[in-house]
């Protein structure tokens, strides 16, 4: 079966427009999913290039390449771009491609808004990246934008605020679309508790997004009025409180952490059963655990602020609520292990990434648990231990899950199998280098190296150069990823409809590549 016959055989169906107009005006969930994913890949490399600047400067003590002001711009922009430009759009792209196919819907519920929510992003990031060329440079106060420091920014300041507004608007629209699609467009017979885990985790994530993105928008708007309209929300001399910003920011920021990891949980819950050839263990427990994590994410925010001088009772509350997150997260890990247990596993690239996720995300979970313990956190806080922790949950956590999903569904998207040998090379190089990069950072933090510094005392030199070597290796390995994706789009062994021996779920009942319009007649769920 070829694409040609599929796009023309049913009803009065029409294929995509040709040329640039197809991508500008598309309302097709698959096209928009592709746009999101390619945009995210581009941003992954832009943010990655900034990480390379950071690691090059940290390669040895002393300043060799950039001045401290530019270094701060790099750390700030790296975080903003990776979070809002790479990880979040990648998950939205996966949702766009897969959710309608997984719940048996013909498209997303709100296709025009879908187009808009994507096309806002290039403008948001053009605004943000343009600040690199402005007098005074790009934002340099950290992605957390703490006042009063952030108010010292030059011309970049309003651009930062407006680009965050745009990213927020895009996320909120994407989230609304996902909720409406899942709630209204599931195939007949697919009750919520028959829905696969990936739509489930995205449904919960979408609610988190709608709850917290407006909070972030409010916080940055208050910064804007503090700077330009004479308010003093966060200025002590005007009766405001700089710590209040941190409370508001982290009320957004902590759920944001789960926005970047719950869809990953969904992906892993799809992939492990496929390659273990065994049903997901404890499906309902997984759903409830996801919901519990989402709920807890709203009442733990101040664990990012244990050093600001909170009352003892506040510190105890946030310590205990934070530790509680380990319970549902543990349930998830145990269920994945139980899914593998007595299965019949094979180890294709998606499964390898899923297993690496399981090991390395769990290490990030352990360091997270350690960080929850307030007395110990007073040492860990703002040190490289924290840098190691959140990179473990974000790189071999969120980003590995995205790579896992790409390898898993790429044959369904393109109709071709990717090059398995190269996929395995990409996996092993990434996994080895990610550990070489981030594991030594635990030691640096425990030995007392603060984060966000461009230069360090010579006692930290050895682990820093190891970490830099790892980072360069990881960065270069990702070029392989791009090559694998584009050569798979161009051609390769034809993929079957089911693709994987153990595949399960509606998306695998469609031909490969998935036709431009799918499930125009809803499938029946038994």
């Amino acid at each position: 079966m070829s694409t040609e016959t599929l796009t023309h055989d049913e009803h009065h169906d029409h294929g995509p427009e040709s040329g640039l107009k197809r991508w500008l005006f598309t309302t097709n969930h698959k096209d928009i999913g592709t746009l999101y994913l390619l945009f995210s890949l581009l941003m992954f490399f832009v943010g990655g290039a900034m990480a390379m600047v950071i690691r090059a400067e940290l390669f040895q003590p002393g300043l060799q390449f950039v001045d401290p002001a530019f270094y701060n711009q790099m750390t700030t922009m790296h975080a903003l771009i990776m979070i809002f430009g790479a990880v979040m759009p990648a998950f939205v792209g996966l949702a766009n491609w897969m959710l309608p196919m997984m719940v048996g819907a013909p498209d997303m519920a709100l296709p025009r808004m879908n187009n808009w929510s994507f096309w806002i992003l290039p403008f948001a990031f053009t605004l943000l990246l343009s600040t690199l060329f402005m007098p005074g440079g790009a934002p340099a106060g950290g992605w957390t934008m703490y006042p009063p420091l952030v108010l010292q920014l030059g011309d970049a300041f309003p651009f930062l605020i407006f680009s965050v507004h745009l990213m927020g608007a895009s996320s909120i629209m994407g989230a609304i679309n996902i909720i409406v699609t899942i709630m209204n467009m599931r195939a007949p017979g697919m009750s919520l508790l028959k829905m696969p885990l990936f739509p489930w985790t995205w449904l919960i994530t979408a609610y988190l997004l709608i709850a917290v993105m407006p909070v972030l928008a409010g916080a940055v708007t208050m910064l804007l009025t503090d700077q330009f309209f004479g308010t003093s929300f966060f200025t002590a001399s005007g009766g405001g409180d700089p710590v209040m910003f941190q409370h508001i920011f982290w009320f957004f920021g902590h759920p944001e952490v789960y926005i970047m990891i719950l869809p990953a949980f969904g992906i892993i819950s799809e992939v492990i059963p496929t390659f273990a050839r065994k049903k997901l263990f404890g499906y309902e427990a997984m759903v409830y655990a996801t919901a519990s994590i989402a709920f807890l994410s709203f009442i733990v925010w101040a664990h990012h602020m244990f050093t600001v001088g909170m009352p003892l009772s506040g510190q105890l509350f946030f310590m205990i609520s934070t530790m509680l997150i380990a319970v549902p997260t543990g349930v998830k890990v145990f269920n994945w292990v139980a899914t593998m247990w007595r299965g019949a596993m094979t180890f294709e690239t998606p499964m390898l990434f899923a297993l690496a996720f399981l090991f390395l995300f769990t290490i990030g979970g352990f360091s997270g648990l350690m960080l929850a313990i307030v007395p110990a956190d007073l040492q860990y806080h703002d040190s490289y231990f924290v840098v190691a922790h959140f990179h473990y949950v974000l790189v071999p956590g969120a980003i590995f899950s995205i790579m896992c999903a790409v390898y898993y569904w790429l044959p369904k998207w393109t109709g071709h199998m990717y090059n398995e040998t190269l996929g395995k090379w990409h996996f092993w190089l990434s996994t080895i280098f990610v550990n070489v990069t981030f594991f030594p950072q635990h030691f640096l933090g425990l030995a007392g190296m603060p984060r966000r510094i461009p230069d360090y005392s010579t006692q930290f030199a050895d682990f820093n150069w190891i970490s830099s070597v790892g980072a360069f290796g990881f960065g270069l390995s990702q070029l392989l990823f791009v090559y694998i994706i584009f050569s798979c789009i161009r051609g390769g062994q034809k993929a079957t409809d089911r693709v994987w021996e153990g595949s399960h779920g509606l998306e695998w009942t469609l031909p490969s590549p998935a036709p431009y319009h799918s499930f125009e007649t809803a499938p029946e769920i038994r």
Binding site: P68, A69, L316, A326, M340, I373, A376, H381, D382
Partner: protein
């Protein structure tokens, strides 16, 4: 005008690269001997020198070992499964897909472990937060980018800046090997001095943005927030020199405002205190700034030679001014203007002294009147008017500065 200050050992990039490979080969071998490696490489938190820091260290190790134990069980099961339950071994997959009993078990066991971890943590936290009945109090104020220490009961007050040799070596492209600088980036001109065995309460605040005061050996950190006062305390058990850094991103030179605490026996501390306060004994009450007490109150109107002023001026300039205006006077426009060839540094002398004494409102240029002596300001002014091609030939004396205070 660069004097002997900038000439430290220089090494080429290639030589350093070769050195890392040599050292790293040795270090990798060392890693095999974990105990040796831990000491050489700083793998772990150190127990520190206060009761609290030892308590925190023990707690850290306890949680770490609990995590290791859980990891052994979970990762063990995963690894066993990966090797045993694979299709290539010809196994048929089992069909079980859940068990409420098992879910309850692996929800409750972690819950119990967490409670067991929370109890000692809460106990330690209560101890850390107990700032009552201190023996002495020091108010610490963060500035971009230095610390100010005020001994509230003793009337002693000084600023603590990055030491000058670190400051020179850390300039972009300085080509000074950081390895050749003792305690690179962890040395200050004036450390905080405290007696051992006394409960020292620290009151923390900031003059500009948020900073954080962190000396790992003393057991933790706290934020210094403008407009607010935070409290922390420590009681050092062992005399020694303990180093730390600012731990909250505070702008360009966040990485260059170290903290050094010297803990000495009570008798030595008293002697140190007498020496310090002896100099400041006949201080007039500070005007309206409240906290500002000039460091050198003794009126010093001696005439100095140009050379003497230039040498002292360069030192002061590097310590206090170079963070923004750069060692070469080029500044970082537009935020930090250049001084080389600038209207201020080549124009009216009184206006130049005024901007150093009182700062410039609406900019990041702070007032140095409270921090520097008449002589130091005179030296810096002279230096700025004659360095980097600003050959005005002007000589500013301490008496000129005092006249403008």
């Amino acid at each position: 005008m660069t004097t002997g200050l900038t000439s430290a050992p220089k090494r080429t990039f290639v030589a350093r690269l070769a050195d890392w490979f040599r050292r790293s080969a040795g270090a990798l071998a060392l890693l095999c001997l974990s105990s040796v490696a831990a000491a050489e490489w700083g793998l772990n938190m150190t127990p520190g020198v206060t009761d609290v820091s030892v308590e925190v260290y023990k707690l850290h190790m306890l949680i770490f070992y609990i995590c290791v134990a859980i990891a052994v069980v979970v990762f063990g099961a995963m690894i066993y499964s990966i090797f045993q339950h694979r299709k290539s071994k010809g196994v048929t997959p089992a069909t079980f897909e859940g068990s409420t009993k098992v879910e309850i078990v692996w929800t409750s066991i972690p819950f119990i472990i967490l409670i067991a971890m929370a109890i000692p943590s809460a106990r330690a936290l209560i101890q850390i937060e107990d700032t009552r009945a201190p023996d002495m109090t020091v108010k610490v104020t963060g500035y971009q980018w230095m610390w100010q220490y005020e001994y509230l009961d003793e009337g002693l007050n000084f600023y603590s800046n990055l030491a000058i040799d670190s400051n020179l070596a850390r300039q972009l492209g300085s080509e000074i090997d950081p390895e050749s600088v003792e305690n690179y980036l962890l040395e200050v001109d004036k450390p905080l001095v405290v007696p051992v065995g006394k409960k020292v309460r620290i009151l923390l605040t900031s003059n500009d943005v948020i900073h954080a005061w962190w000396v790992p050996a003393l057991g933790g950190k706290k934020d210094a927030i403008p407009g607010f006062i935070n409290e922390m305390w420590f009681k050092v058990n062992t005399p020694g020199i303990y180093r730390g850094q600012c731990a909250e991103l505070c702008g360009k030179d966040h990485g260059f405002m170290p903290i050094v605490v010297t803990a000495m026996a009570d008798a030595d501390y008293q002697q140190w205190l007498d020496e310090q306060t002896g100099r400041t004994a006949d201080l007039a009450e500070p005007a309206d700034t409240g906290s500002a007490v000039t460091q050198t109150a003794v009126v010093d109107d001696r005439e100095r030679s140009m050379d003497e002023l230039m040498a002292a001026g360069e030192k002061s300039y590097i310590t206090h001014c170079s963070a923004c205006h750069m060692v070469n006077g080029a500044g970082m426009p537009p935020t930090f203007p250049a001084l080389a060839g600038s209207a201020v540094a080549t124009g009216d002398i009184a206006a130049h002294i005024d901007i150093i004494l009182n700062g410039k409102a609406g900019t990041t240029m702070m007032a140095f009147g409270a921090q520097l002596s008449d002589f130091e300001i005179a030296a810096v002014t002279t230096y700025e008017r004659n360095a980097w091609g600003n050959a005005t030939g002007d000589v500013v004396q301490a008496s000129d500065v005092r006249a403008q205070r």
